[in-house]
């Protein structure tokens, strides 16, 4: 199985990068191989090999616009999980979405779990 590429995005990539640290810890504990990074949302255009984009809730409002540009699942991180920097929960949620989208036939993988 290939390692998933998870990209978190917020305004400057600062607060999401704190969450990335927590998520990497959680991934290590679970013993799964996955690449997790964070960038500023304005830099997202530079990436085309991502499997999922997780948006900080403060930039959740750009989700509909991003969905026009990217053909991968885009999720807004839960407010409280984000506030409490709950890396494990965010990682599990992301993995659940990823598994569902790879099970579903490609192209029809629009996520219906809009927050």
């Amino acid at each position: 199985m290939k390692a998933y590429k998870i990209m978190l995005a917020c305004a400057g990539g600062f607060s999401t990068s704190m969450l990335v640290t927590q998520m990497r810890k959680a991934a290590k504990k679970k013993g799964i191989e996955v690449s997790i990074d964070a960038v500023a949302e304005s830099a997202l255009n530079n990436y085309n090999d991502l499997d999922i984009i997780l948006l900080g809730p403060q930039v959740g409002h750009i989700k509909p616009e991003l969905e026009k540009e990217f053909n991968i699942p885009i999720e807004v991180i839960d407010q409280l999980d984000y506030g409490m920097m709950n890396g494990e929960k965010v990682l599990n949620d992301a993995l659940a979405v990823l598994e569902k989208s790879t099970d579903a036939t490609k192209g029809a993988s629009k996520n219906e779990k809009g927050e």
């Binding site: 607060s15 530079n46 403060q58 409002h61 991003l66 407010q79 409280l80 984000y82 409490m84």
Partner: protein, 428 residues
């Protein structure tokens, strides 16, 4: 809160989120924000070399003059801050080309040609002797943005037109055929901007740069106008936060367009050793909203509620680096009626207070260093903005914020304690 009110608020949030999302991901708005952020290293190098050039610290000036280091700082500023408009053209052309998915290099070339076409040159005895530094520095920034965006848009449009591209036989290497394909669009863009420049020479302002300066920058730098514009922007940014939108980022493009040129002008004045012309600049608006995250952390740590106290612990260190998201979403402040007044007023009051403190000379005017609010440790950030007096000022701001938030935080704490009590009783 009543249930129907909550539903109304959520509906309103949806609508605001929708329109802000459209605004922010608008290709041009996003190109300005992304483009300006991409040349941040140039802005930083330029501002620090200006500061080191004119820093007046005992024997320091004597030392750098003797060793010739001063001249190095002078050159660094001359090729960064003093010609900033050139970088702006390139950066915006590049980022808009990425948005429009057109050829980046040729977009940059088109924009550079177009910008130089409309920029007044120095003339001596009928011969051009160079670019006029006035129009490629801070005063040229808005023109640079306009031209960078329009020329790139034109290039994307013209190069997409099949009649305008010169087709080469298949045997010609791709690089060569690409050069020919971009030939017609670039020639047309050069002609279009030459005509634009000619038309502007007939106006009372003689060129587009002076028109922008007279019509936009001069009215905006009027003290009353600039203060109100700044306070509205700050209020708006925090108002967005109430609906869970990163307000500062949503206003980035506006701030860079309207208020960043004043920072650059201050920086140039600082280097020249003359009085700084402006109080309300972009760095004042983004950096003087007070150490809010730190205030939230301190208040949370003193709360009785378990949740708020643990949030204070999680968020304290990030707060020290100016990151407030844990509190905004953890308390939460988003859609929390109790947080509305202190959230929107805290930053606004701090900026207004900073304005008056600067006006009466308690603290120095903005030096123009584009200090980033997120990631720079509090108080060190203040030091960069204006030395030890600014550090003291940020402590004052912290006290102002604590005073504004205290009564509201008490109410939030009480609410949380009741919730927690109810939950533990249920569990029993």
């Amino acid at each position: 809160m009543k249930k129907e009110n909550k539903v109304k608020l959520t509906k309103l949030q949806g609508r605001i989120q929708n329109s802000m999302g459209k605004f922010q991901r608008n290709k041009y708005v996003s190109a300005i924000a992304g483009g300006m952020m991409s040349i941040l290293p140039v802005l930083m190098v330029g501002s620090f070399s200006s500061i080191f050039y004119s820093l007046n610290l005992g024997p320091y000036q004597h030392f750098i003059t003797q060793t010739g280091i001063k001249n190095i700082f002078n050159v660094i500023t001359a090729v960064t801050t003093d010609v900033l408009a050139l970088y702006v053209v390139v950066a915006l052309a590049n980022s808009l080309a990425a948005e429009l998915k057109t050829d980046k290099f040729n977009s940059i070339i088109s924009s550079l040609v177009a910008f130089l076409m409309v920029t007044p040159m120095l003339v001596k005895k009928g011969a051009f002797i160079g670019l006029n530094m006035k129009y490629i520095g801070s005063a040229g920034m808005i023109v640079a943005m306009i031209v960078g965006l329009t020329a790139t848009r034109l290039f994307a449009w013209l190069s997409g037109n099949k009649h305008l591209t010169i087709k080469m036989p298949d045997s010609v290497p791709e690089f060569v055929s690409r050069t020919f394909a971009s030939m017609m669009p670039i020639i047309l863009i050069a002609i279009i901007y030459a005509i634009v420049n000619f038309l502007f020479s007939l106006t009372p302002w003689h060129n587009i740069s002076d028109m922008i300066i007279t019509l936009i920058q001069v009215p905006l730098q009027g003290l009353g106008t600039s203060l109100w514009a700044a306070l509205v922007l700050v209020f708006f940014a925090e108002f967005c936060w109430f609906f869970g939108i990163h307000g500062t980022m949503a206003t980035t493009a506006v701030l860079y367009t309207l208020f960043y040129p004043f920072d650059v002008a201050n920086l140039q004045a600082f280097k020249a050793g003359v009085a700084l012309p402006y109080i309300v600049t972009m760095t004042l608006i983004t950096n003087q909203k007070g150490p809010r995250a730190l205030a939230y952390a301190i208040l949370c740590l003193r709360c009785k509620s378990e949740q708020l106290r643990s949030l204070g612990k999680v968020g304290f260190i990030p707060a020290f680096f100016g990151i407030s998201e844990p509190f905004k979403f953890g308390i939460p402040m988003v859609l929390n009626p109790l947080a509305f007044i202190p959230l929107t007023m805290g930053g606004t009051v701090c900026v207004a207070a900073t304005y008056f403190a600067t006006l009466i000379g308690l603290i120095p005017r903005p030096n123009g260093i584009p200090v980033q609010t997120a990631g720079t440790p509090e108080f060190f950030r203040a030091f960069l903005l204006g030395g030890w007096r600014m550090v003291i000022w940020h402590v004052v701001q912290l006290l102002i914020l604590l005073a504004i938030w205290y009564p509201f935080m008490k109410m939030i704490d009480k609410q949380k304690c009741e919730e927690e009590l109810a939950r533990s009783q249920q569990a029993n």
